[in-house]
C-alpha cells in the first residue's frame, strides 16, 4: 500500500459534518470561570452531573483545565452536584 510521503502535511481530516466548535471562554472574554457560579458551571455538566469533555463542548485545553478545577471546587460547596442520582 503506498504510504504518503514522509513529512508531507497531512490533509486536515474532519470526521462528520457540522461547524468547528469554538471555546466559549475564548470567544466571550466577559465570561469568567468562577467556582461560585453554579448555573454557568452546570452548563458544562451532563444530566447526571459529570463533566462534559472538551471535545464535546469545544472548550480549549486551558479553559477546560480552569473549568474542571472550578467545578470540583463548586462540588465541595454543594453548588453543583457530584452526581444527580442519590440513594435516598
Amino acid at each position: 500500500m503506498p504510504r504518503p510521503e514522509r513529512g508531507a502535511p497531512r490533509p486536515p481530516r474532519r470526521r462528520g459534518m457540522g461547524r468547528r466548535k469554538v471555546c466559549r471562554f475564548c470567544a466571550d472574554k466577559g465570561m469568567l470561570i468562577d467556582h461560585k457560579d453554579g448555573r454557568m458551571l452546570g452548563s458544562f455538566l451532563t444530566e447526571r452531573g459529570r463533566i462534559i469533555p472538551a471535545r464535546v463542548t469545544g472548550t480549549c485545553a486551558r479553559h477546560q483545565r480552569h473549568l474542571t478545577n472550578a467545578i470540583k471546587q463548586a462540588r465541595t460547596l454543594a453548588l453543583v452536584p457530584f452526581q444527580t442520582v442519590y440513594p435516598q
Binding site: H35, K36, D37, G38, R39, G42, Q73, R75, T76, L77, A78, L79, V80, P81, F82, Y86
Partner: protein
C-alpha cells in the same frame, strides 16, 4: 508579611434562622478582623438550595467574604471556621491582585437572595434603593 486577597464562601446551617445567622456572620467578621484581615466585601446570598444534602440539610445560608489578610491569618480564620458547629462548609480561594471584586451572584434554584434585590427587577425608577446591597459600608 505578605498581605493577600482572599475570598471565602461559607455555608451555614439553616436551623440558625435569620437572627442566628446574622449573629454568626458578625462573629466570623470579628474573628477575621482580630486576625488583622481587612474585609472589603460581605455578600449575603441568603438561604439557597444545595445541589445535594449536606448534614441532612437541603438548603443552607451562603455568605461570601472578601478580604485581605496574611496567609497565617487565613489559616487561623479557617481553623476557627472548622470549630464552628453551624458552619457546614467553607472554601477559601486566593484571588489575583488585579481581579475585579466578586460580582453579586444571582441565585440559581433558591429564593431571591437578600442583598441582590437592587439589581434587576427593581432597577426601573428605583434609584434611591442602593442601600439594599448588603456590602460593608466604608471598608
Amino acid at each position: 508579611m505578605p498581605n493577600r486577597r482572599y475570598e471565602t464562601l461559607i455555608l451555614i446551617h439553616p436551623e440558625q434562622g435569620e437572627a442566628g445567622t446574622k449573629e454568626l456572620v458578625v462573629r466570623i467578621k470579628q474573628l477575621a478582623e482580630n486576625q488583622g484581615a481587612v474585609i472589603s466585601q460581605l455578600q449575603d446570598w441568603g438561604a439557597r438550595e444545595l445541589a445535594y444534602p449536606v448534614a441532612r440539610q437541603r438548603r443552607a445560608y451562603h455568605v461570601l467574604l472578601e478580604f485581605r489578610a496574611t496567609p497565617q491569618a487565613l489559616l487561623e480564620i479557617e481553623r476557627n471556621l472548622k470549630l464552628m458547629e453551624p458552619v457546614l462548609r467553607y472554601l477559601s480561594v486566593r484571588r489575583a491582585e488585579n481581579a475585579p471584586p466578586a460580582a453579586v451572584r444571582p441565585t440559581a434554584g433558591g429564593e431571591a437572595p437578600r442583598g441582590v434585590e437592587a439589581t434587576d427587577e427593581v432597577s426601573a425608577g428605583d434609584d434611591g434603593e442602593v442601600g439594599l446591597m448588603n456590602h460593608e459600608e466604608g471598608v
